[in-house]
């Protein structure tokens, strides 16, 4: 239950107050409320430029908040049911990294599902921690990886009793939730911290009939992408802290990498969006749920598409499902998700969040309207009419590839390496990432063995037109591998 007056917006109030003062700027930024950069001001608008200002007494300081930012952080903590909330301006990536860095040091083990975002493994490169992967089971019909089983986590804990933390996706990009409460209790019994990557879970804190949020499940830290379902500006995010972690230590970790010139555009957008969700969140996400359900029903009527939902729930690997996610499987059409994604954009001017081997994800939010849903559904119907393939051979079955971690990510990242043609890289240890972006989940991460199966998978996603990223070689013809290993 929220205890504070959530209609307050301290950062916005301070910025409005500040504008009235008409302070003469002899500080940065050098555009001086936009006057020094006419082209930019014409593009973004004077109101926007006039609040692109620096930290100062009446506006507080993100690195060491004592007034309005502190107040705004307390309101955010209250709204999310957290003990402490940090305003993050370097993306949820920085929230995830700070969370991992606060929990693990060099050589510490961390238990995590393989379908983590690259920012998690990047954090391991930064801090030198060792990943212990839990196989997220696969749904073969849909070709997506799911959540961690409770028994899988228990097994990983038994084999690695010295692990420091467990990381959980809540939910995954596709809306799949693990049993976060039971996993959290289990980890706590063994003295481990629990970190929730809630990049796709802001709404869980405010909507009704949605999966359990991290803080409600008792996790120790959670990274919440306010800019996704929460409505704030791109790159703004919250890091929530619960029990068992010292917020002062987390602040120090954040300040290792976060900018000292935190953008007030981003900060105010977080503050305003927090207020909006705290006050109107229930109604907003009821509407989002209805829109997603409408689209799901209509898409399932077209035929050959499968927009899935709660019927997948199985009590373990799909412990719960986030119904605001409109994930649609396209395989019965004889088309890869990425192909449908590309046709939607190139021919119908419709941009969906991502397409992978078997699915597309359409992001439904407070900003959507019924008319646009009709466009999406109609375009999907047209794509079926025009492109459906009777011959479904050549569609790759998505398989979970159990990564063989040979070397710690940090060690592999900094090791001596050489570039090899893909086909000659079998059996070697990779020193870089390979992933499709989005969703940004690694096929290969630094320190892992390159296998025939992995190379096949890379070739397939390239052929289907996925944007493959990570390696130094932008064309992904070569991979960097460890020298002499």
């Amino acid at each position: 239950m929220m205890k504070l007056n959530q209609s307050r917006i301290p950062i916005l109030e301070a910025l409005n107050e500040f504008k009235k003062m008409r302070v003469v700027p002899f500080d940065v930024p050098g555009h001086k409320r936009g006057k020094g950069n006419k082209e930019l001001t014409d593009f973004l608008g004077e109101r926007c430029m006039s609040v692109d200002v620096n930290s100062m007494k009446p506006l507080d300081n993100l690195c060491h908040p004592i007034s309005v930012i502190k107040e705004a952080e307390e309101l955010a903590a209250d709204a999310f049911g957290a003990r402490y909330a940090f305003f993050m301006v370097n993306g949820t990536t920085s929230a995830v990294q700070s969370m991992v860095l606060a929990a693990c040091k060099e050589g510490d083990k961390i238990i995590l599902p393989r379908n983590v975002h690259r920012s998690v493994i990047n954090a391991l490169i930064l801090c030198g921690a060792i990943p212990v992967y839990v196989n997220p089971e696969i749904n073969h019909q849909l070709g997506i990886s799911l959540g961690m089983t409770l028994s899988g986590v228990a097994q990983a804990i038994r084999s690695n009793p010295d692990a420091k933390a467990v990381l959980i996706n809540n939910p995954t990009y596709y809306g799949i939730c693990s049993n976060i409460k039971a996993i959290t209790e289990l980890a706590h019994q063994h003295g481990m911290l629990v970190l929730a990557d809630e990049a796709h879970g802001t709404h869980l804190y405010f909507g009704e009939d949605l999966p359990l949020s991290g803080m409600a499940a008792g996790v120790n830290m959670a990274s919440v992408s306010m800019h996704k379902s929460g409505g704030s500006l791109t790159q703004s995010s919250f890091l929530l802290v619960g029990e068992g972690v010292n917020p002062g230590h987390v602040r120090q970790i954040i300040n290792l990498t976060q900018t000292t010139s935190g953008s007030y555009l981003l900060l105010s957008s977080l503050d305003i969006s927090r207020k909006n969700l705290a006050v109107n969140g229930k109604a907003i996400f009821t509407k989002v749920n209805q829109m997603a359900q409408y689209a799901r029903d209509e898409i399932n009527q077209i035929g050959d598409y499968y927009a899935y939902s709660r019927e997948l729930i199985n009590g373990d690997t799909i412990y719960d499902f986030d119904v605001t996610k409109l994930s649609v499987n396209t395989l019965d059409l004889g088309l890869a998700g990425i192909e449908v994604y590309n046709i939607l954009r190139d021919e119908y001017d419709i941009q969906v969040e991502f397409g992978d081997i078997g699915n597309i994800l359409a992001y439904i939010s407070v900003g959507d309207c019924q008319r646009n849903l009709e466009r999406l559904v109609s375009a999907l119907a047209e794509i079926r009419r025009r492109y459906k393939k009777q011959d479904k051979s050549g569609m790759l079955q998505f398989e979970y590839i159990n990564p063989e971690v040979v070397v710690a990510p940090r060690e592999a990242f900094y090791a001596d390496k050489e570039a090899l043609e893909l086909k000659r890289a079998t059996g070697r240890i990779c020193s870089e990432f390979v992933m499709c972006y989005p969703p940004g989940i690694p096929i290969l991460a630094p320190g892992e063995r390159i296998t025939e199966e992995i190379l096949e998978s890379i070739a397939y996603v390239k052929e289907k037109g996925c944007s493959v990223t990570g390696p130094e070689d932008m064309d992904i013809e070569y991979l960097n591998v460890l020298k002499g290993v």
Binding site: E347, D349, R371, N372, E374, R375, V377, S378, A381, E382
Partner: protein, 283 residues
């Protein structure tokens, strides 16, 4: 006292009509609806402030939307009108005894109600037994139709607002699917004169060309629309708009029209060079 209605045709061009009085103003779920009386143009309807029709010049638009395809297709029985809540297209269509069934799909029920009350000149024939009203999104309605109509008339507003979905490739593709093997689609096609309208016109043309084998554009002179020079699209699976015109048959029907005639039919597909060039660029 002087009361004026003004529509901005571009950021720096205004079009004004002196208003005698305002008869109606209301906000539906989709748009603001206003009806005015004026000395020069009679009664007129605006949606979100944009001119939809006036009593004085609506005949041009509605005759050109309906009689052009009706004089080409030899046997129109089933017709779908998307939009057209003012009833003008229906008024022209019900004059053909061979038409058996007309579905009108209008997203905004309030538009029909307001027009019934204030614009009897166009909203005169909703009670014809062949007319069936459906108040829903046109894109949604047509998704479920296949091989059903001889003629589809897309009588939409501009592509900024509730009408946006009716200028999309998915919509035209669904129209193609909803038409029979010799079906025709005509649509409100914006104008080529002012830059913003011209972009909408080119985008619409590009998408129709992608869906239909035969896709031509014709023109009319409509004084109250931006620039006064307005375009229509004629898309078809089989019939050519001028080669397949059966003027003798249409004239034998003895329909009295004020703008349309079969000589004008042949001429209205001849477009100014700059318009032809824009269409070529879009293709």
């Amino acid at each position: 006292m002087e009361l004026w209605y003004t529509e901005k045709h571009t950021d720096s061009v205004k079009f004004s009509i002196q208003v005698d009085r305002q008869l109606y103003s209301g906000q539906s779920e989709f748009q603001r609806i206003d009806v005015f009386d004026s000395k020069e143009f009679g009664r007129f309807l605006t949606l979100d402030g944009y001119m939809m029709l006036t009593e004085k010049d609506e005949f041009i638009y509605h005759e050109m939307m309906v009689h052009v395809p009706m004089a080409v297709h030899p046997a129109v029985k089933r017709v779908l009108i998307i939009g057209g809540g003012d009833g003008g297209a229906i008024r022209e269509l019900v004059r053909y005894p061979t038409v058996e069934h007309i579905d009108l799909v209008e997203i905004d029920e309030l538009v029909v109600e307001v027009c019934k009350k204030h614009l009897p000149q166009t909203a005169c024939c909703f009670n014809d037994p062949r007319v069936h009203l459906h108040f829903e999104d046109g894109l949604r309605y047509i998704r479920h139709c296949e091989d059903e109509y001889d003629l589809i008339i897309v009588d939409s507003t501009d592509p900024f607002g509730p009408g946006e979905g009716l200028f999309t490739k998915e919509f035209y593709g669904n129209c193609y699917k909803a038409l029979k093997a010799d079906g025709i689609m005509v649509n409100q096609h914006e104008s080529a004169f002012y830059a913003d309208d011209a972009i909408a016109m080119q985008r619409a043309h590009k998408r129709i060309v992608q869906s239909f084998l035969i896709s031509k554009v014709y023109q009319a002179h409509i004084p109250t629309y931006p620039s006064g020079h307005w375009l229509f699209g004629f898309a078809s699976k089989k019939y050519h708009p001028t080669a397949d015109l059966n003027g003798v048959k249409w004239n034998a029907l003895g329909l009295k029209t004020r703008y349309y005639n079969t000589r004008l039919h042949a001429g209205c597909f001849a477009l100014p060079n700059y318009v032809e060039e824009m269409l070529r660029d879009a293709e």
